[in-house]
Amino acid sequence: MTQSAISIKNLGKRYTIGRQKTSDDGMRHVLEEVIRHPISWIKSRRSRRLKDVEFWALRDVSLEIKQGEVVGIIGRNGAGKSTLLKILSRITVPTLGRICIDGRTASLLEVGTGFHQELTGRENIYLNGAILGMSRAEIARRFDEIVEFSEIEEFLDTPVKRYSSGMYVRLAFAVAAHLEPEILIVDEVLAVGDAAFQKKCLGKMGEVAQGGRTVLFVSHNVDAVRALCQRAILFDEGKIQADGDVESVVEDYLARSSIGSGLQLRGEQGLVIEKLALKNGEGQETHQFCPGEDLIVEITYNSPNRIELPYFMIVVEGAHGKCFTANMLLDGMRPDVLEGAGRISCRFGSIPLLPQRYSISLSIREKANQSKIWACKDAISFTVQSDLKNYGYEGEYLTYASRSTSVVIPYVWELPDGKLRPVGLTITPKNSH
């Protein structure tokens, strides 16, 4: 278990961008240069390269992954995650550094790579398998399993161009899922397909991981990373920002993606918001809440000038849009004056939110012409997390609550037999965390 599967030392990858734009390397240009100044062209080849705009997609990355580890790689778009996977998959070469990989590797950077539209499902299974590195004998042996997993049996001899996108993805994942590598590298492939199939795919990947194989998994889906991995690595600007236990790294990632505490934004009239904090009902600062808990937004400000009768507006926004707001323009109450250092807070009682990620926008407007004195969208964010089973929910798709709406209020089903079924988050949690 302690043997390393992948060891990366000082890895760097540089891209030169803007080459196509200037057509510096276009053939006409090259030919022209060669004909006009043959000698100086040869001499200048090296220096000409330097003019290109350089961009380091990865910089000084060192990493050790042990055999049997399941590692999640997270980070914003353009953080270098995919570049790392491309280098590990040998699609592109590193500019600097050294990698040592121990074991048969299979990478899945895209679902359905090499599928041919004109070929039938059966033919594509063989073709795709070969492209992913399986031998003909191996594919033949696993053929039935693949077909069964993909649930497309009756369309096996139909060209894939006639498939629905769901069928296409199912077939493609099925082939890839039956690779049996010692090291599996997976990039964002779960972003496609319907919920039920995604669940199946996650299950299959979990199986691979439990089989003692090494898995490297890139995803934007923080929940999937949490569910699958023990260890996570956070990338930003081509560097490793955090590496360790999945919970703490994911927490770090979520905190980083909001500006959060310690913000020093200066608005008009010199107003400074020194701190924006979220607290739970007990008054503890946190970024994690349970459904039905109280949420306190606390604003610490410093106003060098005298601001009379300002309006405050707080908006809580989820993945599906705005959820609720506290708006002094509606309330009809406001502080008389902001002067010097001070604090204002707003307590939202028992938030009716489903497990998801939320962000808070804050704006402060002037009394007279209602122009903004201070505004920040997504100023701070928090997650609502909990096992909904503790709230009396019993459906099969609880893990996909995040794809439902954000807000849920109590409701009652009246069933055909006259039974009443009340549902709601207000039920006291048995053991909230």
Binding site: M27, R28, P94, S107, H116, L119
Partner: protein, 272 residues
């Protein structure tokens, strides 16, 4: 499973072993191209016969009937068709190989395998066409009641030479095409002019002997003459010097092609 080491600025040591390991992919890609080729066409495989047949008819008319070129006692259509065989193979092979990397760019940017496999498998597709037209040559010989001499047994050697030549030029074009799409326009020109610059519609013997060496710079001269010599024996002349030039040229182009391909291959995924 041995360790894999990826190091900046170092050529991969495992390349040639990988090429062997992925040999089945070579077969699968060729198989895919063949399967796809005539899907949703009405007359299917017949297309690989109709093209050379029509070309043969036109060239026989232009060079044989209008131009009254000598044929060395061989039926003119047979003469033309024996030249068409290697030419058609070579021209489609370099065109397909040349385009192969660009048209498979989705694969190149998402999966690793030695890229030479893509280029190589494209030659196979054209090779199948060569066999189909080859069968038709036999039909044509029966029609003219022509019995070939024993030199026909050497034909596989020249087929091999034609394959190597297509691969050599093909991988050069393929690698260049990745960065310079200009070749998308250049290749059809080569194919178009090559038909007339190579001895397809006529015998290379009609070229004045002082230009013979210059003429044999075109590698297809040696190959087509070789084909004809195998099929017609002494009735078709072969110039040993031209053949030597051809072989040397093909080997040189192949070696430099592989070197260039390997050098640029590392950045294909970034450039394509």
């Amino acid at each position: 499973m041995p360790q894999l080491i990826i190091e900046a600025g170092r050529a991969e040591r495992q390349y040639w072993r990988d090429l062997w390991r992925y040999r089945e992919l070579f077969y699968f890609l060729a198989w895919r191209d063949l399967l796809v080729r005539y899907k949703q066409t009405f007359i299917g495989v017949s297309w690989s016969l109709i093209r050379p047949l029509l070309t043969m008819a036109v060239l026989t008319f232009v060079f044989g009937k209008l131009g009254r070129m000598p044929s060395g006692g061989v039926p003119y259509p047979l003469l033309v068709f024996s030249g068409m065989l290697p030419w058609q193979f070579f021209s489609t092979a370099i065109a397909e190989t040349g385009n192969s990397l660009v048209s498979n760019s989705a694969l190149i940017s998402k999966v690793y395998f030695p890229r030479l496999i893509i280029a190589g498998s494209s030659v196979i597709t054209s090779l199948v066409d060569l066999f189909i037209t080859g069968v038709f040559l036999v039909v044509l010989m029966l029609w003219y009641r022509y019995v070939p001499p024993t030199t026909i047994l050497l034909l596989p050697l020249f087929v091999l030479l034609a394959i190597v030549a297509s691969l050599a030029f093909g991988i050069w074009i393929a690698a260049l095409m990745v960065e310079y799409r200009d070749f998308r326009f250049i290749v059809p020109f080569i194919v178009q002019f090559g038909l007339y610059l190579s001895p397809v519609g006529f015998q290379s013997a009609i070229v004045p002997s002082r230009y013979q060496l210059l003429y044999s710079i075109n590698p297809m001269v040696g190959i087509i003459d070789g084909f004809r010599w195998c099929i017609f024996g002494t009735r078709s002349k072969i110039f040993p010097l031209a053949l030597a030039v051809c072989v040397l040229e093909v080997v040189a182009v192949l070696i430099t092609g592989i070197v260039y391909f390997r050098k640029t291959e590392r950045t294909f995924a970034d450039v394509i």
